[in-house]
Symmetry: C2
Subunit: 156 residues, 2 copies
DNA sequence: CGGGGGTTGCACATTCTGCTCTATCCAGCG
DNA sequence: CGCTGGATAGAGCAGAATGTGCAACCCCCG
């Protein structure tokens, strides 16, 4: 993974403040030449520093106002096939493998409580899934953010 | 919240496939006029359909290879002040209020195990926090995605 | 029938982009 | 010490994209 230097983080910060700003605007803002910014941007695009655009889409706008986290306990030998099956469920928007008391943390979005019930059912149907504990998300109290990390990098 | 129609979702899909494509390119791809795309994009920007650019930044590239989820139990009356304090910790990149057995699901990034230990310490220090259960993320088995939801919208 | 919203086509001046070439600066190395 | 590679800056150019304004159109709804 391409390690970022101070210029890169400044670039990312500027982008965070205005995601649609042009290269020249960025260059001016950061006191760099247009060429430099362009080179950095290409490098960022090419590397895997940036997640796909998906991440910026708010599922609420897509008609899925409810978010839930489901802790899944499973037979670990089956992890691979289970993840494959879960991938087929569109409402599952993310899943992390975990160490600790549960094996999988699944994030789902849904239209309402009935929908959530249906989806947990789908998860429980998978062979190898032993238990699933659902927690409804009551709000994103701290929205995802990388800004504080970027700013710390600045001052370092 | 602005409800998205089929044109919007097609636009978002196209953007997901190429986040840096220009307005004209999008227009051509979708068979729409440049004006239309431009209008839609402005609307999307103005509404809260899109999360900030932050979300696309991979903390690994920033030097935080470890991710952990921490389930926090707390005195609910103190929720507000606790969230405020947690906001001051840069490594906390996200937090959701939960219904269910725990009150708060906190997502942290860190450089190594010691760093994680330090951060859990910071969380436990907050007044009103009763318990914190840490689970290390072993991998993002299903990376965040909105694409399946968008595609479903297409065919609906 | 008369809007209003969304869409379209067109045109204009301005700005941005991608690309190339050159030159400078600096750190690392033989 | 001199060389080399990498990052940066400056300039220039043709082509493309952008922002903007405007008139027209279609279609659904009241």
């Amino acid at each position: 993974m391409h390690k970022l230097d101070r210029t890169d983080t400044r670039l990312l910060l500027a982008l965070t403040e205005d995601p649609r700003s042009t290269i020249v605007a960025l260059a001016e803002k950061l006191g760099l030449s247009r060429n430099t910014v362009q080179a950095r941007m290409s490098a960022l695009d090419a590397s895997n520093v940036l997640h796909p655009f998906d991440r910026r889409i708010n599922p609420v706008a897509l008609g899925y106002p409810l978010t839930a986290f489901i802790s899944v306990h499973l037979q670990q030998q089956q992890l691979g096939t289970i993840v494959e099956k879960l991938s087929d469920i569109p409402e599952i928007v993310q899943a992390h493998g975990l160490s600790g008391t549960s094996d999988l943390l699944v994030r789902v979005v849904c239209t309402d409580a009935d929908d959530l019930f249906r989806i947990t059912g789908l998860i429980l149907e998978c062979e190898g899934v032993e238990r699933a504990e659902t927690s409804l998300a009551m709000g994103e109290l701290i929205p995802f953010r990388a800004k504080p990390l970027l700013e710390r990098e600045q001052n370092a």
